[in-house]
């Protein structure tokens, strides 16, 4: 199968890589670029563990995306959230609220949360639960994940106020 060269901007850094037609974005991120915090869960687009952001804060499933169609795109993974060693408010919120058990769904949940709050900085619980659809957790029963999203919304609102 023919390979092609593509350019991916991941977490602000430019990467040139050679991929096959059937290389998924997930495979390219994990195997070629070592962003192993982006998880392989189901491989069929149902669990959300592979959720990354593209074009800013648009959440997509890396296992359902061909790397070859992402040439030139700007992608954010969990590794790209912290700044100067300080956790992103969403990450901090998940820690504060114990929204993490085994941790496997967590990177996907965190990326989804960034995406939710970018569109709706003060979501209701119903809006949070609707927004989290597509990210499955086997451990927590979702209650503390919902609390983590609420806490993240608070932290980000505080940050905005502090910046004003």
């Amino acid at each position: 199968m023919k390979k092609r060269e593509i350019c991916l901007h991941v977490n602000g850094e430019r990467h040139i890589l050679t991929v096959a037609a059937n290389t998924t974005l997930l495979h390219a991120l994990r195997e070629d670029l070592n962003f192993t915090e982006t998880k392989y869960g189901c491989g069929t687009g149902e669990c959300g563990a592979c959720t990354v952001l593209v074009d800013g804060t648009k959440a997509i499933l890396a296992c359902m995306t061909l790397a070859a169609t992402m040439d030139g795109k700007h992608i954010t993974t969990t590794a790209g959230l912290a700044r100067d060693g300080k956790l992103h408010p969403v990450q901090q919120a998940f820690v504060d609220e114990s929204g993490i058990q085994c941790g496997y769904c967590t990177p996907g949940m965190v990326m989804k949360t960034v995406s939710i709050l970018a569109r709706n900085p003060n979501p209701s619980e119903a809006e949070i639960r609707h927004g989290l659809e597509g990210n499955i957790c086997r451990c927590t029963g979702y209650a503390k994940i919902v609390k983590s999203v609420q806490r993240a919304a608070e932290l980000m609102a505080d940050e905005s106020k502090a910046a004003e």
């Binding site: 149902e46 959440a59 997509i60 359902m64």
Partner: protein, 288 residues
Amino acid sequence: MSTRVLPDFEILIPRDVPEAVRTLAEYGPKALVMAGGTDVLVMMKYNLRSEYLMSLSGIDGLDRLEFDPGNGLTIGATTTIAQIVDSPEVQAHYPALWQAASVLGSPQIRNAATVIGNLLRASPAGDCSCAVLALGGTLVLESVHGRREVSIDDLWLSYGVTARRPDELAVELRLPAPGAGTFSGFRRMTRTSEDLSKLNASVRLDMDGPVCRSARLAMGCVGPTTVRLPAIEAILTGKVVDDAVLKTVQNAVEGCISPIDDKRSSAEYRSAVAGVLLRRTIAQALDV
């Protein structure tokens, strides 16, 4: 069982529509067309095979979403479900499509999946398919031979099979402009948020006050394709839509559908609830 592994194929990424239709003219049935990929890639992780995959990701301008009160709504080949959900004009003027788009898949899937892709998948469970059949619409197909239009009423030939020829690219979908008395709605039944619908229904009612001048009723998951319900449309036409008429509608549905047993539901259950679902969809559309 999914292998979760994509088979080998070559990918073709044309840069514009003329190149895309030349590609399809050359490769024809050997090339699968992919927009968002949320159906194609899943199916290829099961047992769908193709020598070539033609991705629309390289073509600018196919993601149109334009509403004009005179002409209606124009949706492009790569217009995503998320764009539909984010559109106040679609929500206001085509509530059935907006409601269907709002529950399709998951947020991540909605960011990649396309309305036209849902139609071309030709699954009777398609949520946007159900809404578009109720609303009415025209699919514009382009090839090296020119343009051709296919009404949504003529698009689905059988399960997974559409009237699109292998050398044609679906470039846009046009929905008619709503009138002053046009109401629409969509409802579905499903297990969890991400699951395919086990039953869905969509309606478009053109009303003169309390009287239904004309109706388009669509139901999915009750036959090999999404279907209209002409016998039920006839019950509503020219009538005041009151409780008695709705009861007649509800009771008439079972005789018009042929659901099967599948992993999502049973023929018995679908038959038992389809009439109720349709009645509730009509009531939702009319806000009664």
